[in-house]
Amino acid sequence: MTPLAAYLLVSALLFAIGFAGALTRRNSILVLVGVELMLNAANLNFLAFWRYGPNPEALTGVMFVLFAIAVAAAEAAVGLALIIAIYRHYCSSNVEDVATMKG
């Protein structure tokens, strides 16, 4: 097994765990945690493909990941603020209760 394949395997596992968490958890904060896990799995993919790609000296993968982390931090802040706002409105953090957008 090449190191790249191992990294990708870990990344896929991480993504699957994050996805499962986002799908099964009822608490919206935990759904957000799942989403963050999936995001980091993608970051891991970037790093792996950069490190074992054709020109690892160009630092492109690191740049991507740094940006993604920064954006993810901002996104997490927005997401948490939304969750707080929803909680204040519905007095609940359960995603099943928030269904006013249904057709």
Partner: protein, 701 residues
């Protein structure tokens, strides 16, 4: 001097421009409007004089000066419609006359229409009238002439009906317009036919015009129905227009009624513009009228063609017919109107027997003294507070001395007093030409009889208006109502008064011109003949008349003497308030007073026929056409019903089915959209999985 032809269009354009500007003016701008109209006319007169001078020097051996300026108006397919100006002695003489007389009439109008609140509009119409007539004179194209001809008709309609709140004036305007239109129908047919035959409507176009040798030869050699030459047929059709416009016998009825217009308008219509147009037309197309196979090309000699014979007879009959009626009329303007009809008959007679020079000279002299007479009548009417019945006038000789003197000159010119009055010479020429006319002596005798009658009725009118003992004004109950209808200020002094100077000055000028004009066509110095014929360089002073001329002159002097003395004896001895002729021949007088019942005859025949046709049309309209329309309406309704049914059953149900489907699809989509974010995510995940599987599977293949 020859360059004047390029700016000849200025002459009609100036009054037209004035008319246009006046049309934009407001009603209170009376003085600017009058000044503009008179000024434009005076300028046109100056340009006309320049044009006249240009025609005075004929080139040796080439006959009369004839300048043309042709240009293409627009293209019709391959051929261009060309218009043009024409300057020859005929045009130049008429231009000077029309602008001169017109200017004087305009000036007179300032005084006459002083009380009218629509003076501005009046001058606008007058200027338009003059512009149309001047355009007609300079036209070198029959179509352009026809357009101006119709414009003259329109302007006359507007002016005769100027006091349109009077029902009689409105009716007279309509009558004038429609009656002349009947003649114009023939005129238009003639134009179309002429264009069909010759392919051009230009009169003179360097040998290619429709009045020049080539076209004429072609026209006289062809024959149409009844063996008549095409030239004759076209001439007769064109003459129809002249009959309508110049008030010749069958269509003269509009002219006396046109007296409903203001008096300056009557003067303009009778002297310078409207009726002169018909005579001018005949003179203009004279080469066509006089064209006959044998005599082609003989200048100055009028062959006895069928067309000219018709012109002669119509003229002679009109001359006597109208003179007879004039004897029994009591309205001062109506007498003059019938005398105009009669004199127009003389002009036609002159054209028919003696050619353009004879007829046109009578037209010119008549224009001056008839304008003089009408303006004099206007002055009389104005002075006696819009009284028009000669039996209620009388004794005006002392009250209106200037008007009397001028009127007397006009009357003597019209009656044909010998030697110093132009009317004598021009009428004498007509009679002389009629006397040597070989086909028949009857037109001459008719003319002579007409001369007696003319002298008779003019003396009668003079006596009643100026000499008769003054009738009591209180005995005319109709007057108060009459003058009220003219917005005459009430309470004006009842005795007649002399008119203001703005009205008498034109009278004096016209009287002088009437006398002076007699210098130009005496047998001693036949200048006008030579001028029109282009033989000025051969003109000699001396007694050139033959014995027939002397005899004619003697006879016409005798005729005048007979007419005047008979009339004077009858009327000066008659009792006041009655008509001597009426007492002698009551039935004849009444018939004449009723204008020989021509109007009644038309009412009984043409109008009744017209009414019958109208009833028939009305019936057809109600029962035939209206049922057709009803049928069409039912058809349309049936179609509408069918379309509604189809719409409701077919299209609507199909659309409804489509709607149900769309609703179902919408319901399904809304069930998918249940608001559970995790369900969305799940579907997204499933989608990704399917996508990955598909890619992997396709990559393996």
């Amino acid at each position: 001097m020859k360059g004047i032809i390029n700016s000849l269009w200025l002459i009609p354009a100036l009054p037209l421009l004035a008319a246009g500007i006046i049309a934009l003016m407001k009603r209170p701008q009376r003085k600017p409007a009058a000044a503009l109209a008179i000024g434009s006319m005076a300028l046109a007169f100056l340009v006309s004089c320049v044009a006249f001078v240009a025609t005075l020097q004929p080139e040796a051996g080439k006959g009369a000066v004839q300048l043309t300026h042709n240009f293409a108006w627009f293209d019709l397919g391959g051929s261009a419609l060309r218009l043009g100006w024409l300057l020859d002695p005929l045009t130049a003489g008429m231009l000077v006359m029309v602008t001169f007389v017109g200017s004087l009439i305009f000036i007179f109008s300032v005084g006459y229409m002083d009380h009218d609140e629509n003076l501005t509009r009046f001058f606008g119409f007058l200027a338009l009238f003059a512009a149309a007539m001047l355009g007609l004179l300079i036209a070198n194209n029959l179509l352009f002439l026809f357009m101006c001809w119709e414009l003259v008709g329109v302007a006359s309609y507007l002016l005769i009906g100027f006091w349109f709140h009077k029902p009689s004036a409105a009716a007279a305007a309509k009558k004038a317009f429609i009656t002349t239109r009947i003649g114009d129908l023939g005129f238009f047919l003639g134009i179309v036919w002429l264009y069909h035959e010759t392919g051009t409507l230009l009169f003179y176009d360097n040998g290619a015009g429709c009045l020049e040798q080539g076209a004429l030869t072609k026209l006289v050699t062809q024959t149409t129905v009844g063996g008549m030459a095409v030239s004759t047929a076209i001439s007769l059709l064109l003459f129809c227009g002249a009959v309508g416009k110049s008030g010749q016998l069958p269509l003269h009825v509009w002219l006396p009624d046109a007296m409903e217009g203001p008096t300056p308008v009557s003067a303009l219509i009778h002297a310078a513009t409207m009726v002169a147009a018909g005579v001018f037309l005949v003179a203009r197309v004279f080469p066509l009228m006089g064209a006959a196979t044998a005599d082609l090309g003989l200048e100055g000699h009028s062959p006895h063609t069928t067309a000219l014979t018709v012109v002669t007879w119509v003229g002679a009959c009109t001359a006597v017919f109208a003179a007879l009626i004039a004897v029994a009329q009591n309205d001062i303007k109506r007498i003059l109107a019938f005398s105009t009809v009669s004199q127009l008959g003389y002009m036609m007679l002159g054209l028919g027997v003696g050619g353009p020079a004879v007829g046109m000279f009578h037209l010119l002299t008549h224009a001056f003294f008839k304008a003089l007479l009408f303006l004099g009548a206007g002055s009389v009417i104005h002075g006696s507070h819009h009284e028009q019945d000669i039996r209620r006038m009388g004794g005006l000789r002392k009250l209106m001395p200037i008007t009397f003197a001028a009127y007397a000159v006009g009357m003597m010119a019209l009656a044909g007093f010998p030697l110093v009055f132009s009317g004598f010479w021009s009428k004498d020429e007509v009679l002389h030409a009629a006397m040597i006319w070989s086909p028949s002596k009857l037109p001459f005798l008719l003319g002579l009889f007409g001369a007696v009658l003319t002298a008779f009725y003019m003396t009668r009118q003079m006596w009643f208006v100026f000499f008769a003992p003054r009738a009591e004004s209180a005995s005319s109950p109709g007057r108060a109502a009459h003058s009220a209808s003219h917005h005459e200020p009430q309470g004006a002094s009842s005795s007649p008064h002399e008119s203001p100077r703005v009205m008498t000055l034109p009278l004096v000028i016209l009287a002088v011109a009437t006398v002076l004009l007699s210098l130009f066509a005496t047998p001693v110095w036949p200048w006008f003949h030579a001028y029109l014929g282009g033989q000025l360089d051969h003109l000699q002073v001396g007694w050139s008349a033959d014995s027939a001329a002397g005899l004619t002159m003697l006879l016409s002097v005798l005729a005048v003497a007979l007419g005047v003395s008979a009339s004077w004896r009858l009327y000066s001895r008659g009792k006041a308030g009655t008509d001597a002729v009426e007492r002698l021949f009551p039935r004849l007088f009444r018939a004449l007073q009723g204008r020989l019942y021509v109007d009644e005859f038309y009412a009984a025949t043409v109008f009744r026929l017209n009414a019958a046709v109208a009833v028939l049309s009305d019936w057809a309209d109600r029962f035939v056409w209206s049922s057709v329309v009803e049928l069409a309406a039912w058809l349309a309704k049936g179609l509408a019903w069918l379309s509604r049914t189809l719409d409701e059953s077919g299209i609507n149900s199909g659309f409804d089915a489509g709607c149900v489907e769309t609703r179902g699809a919408g319901g399904f989509a809304s069930r998918l959209q249940n608001g559970q974010t995790q369900r969305y995510l799940r579907i997204l995940g499933a989608g990704v999985v399917v996508l990955v599987v598909a890619i992997v599977w396709m990559g393996n293949n």
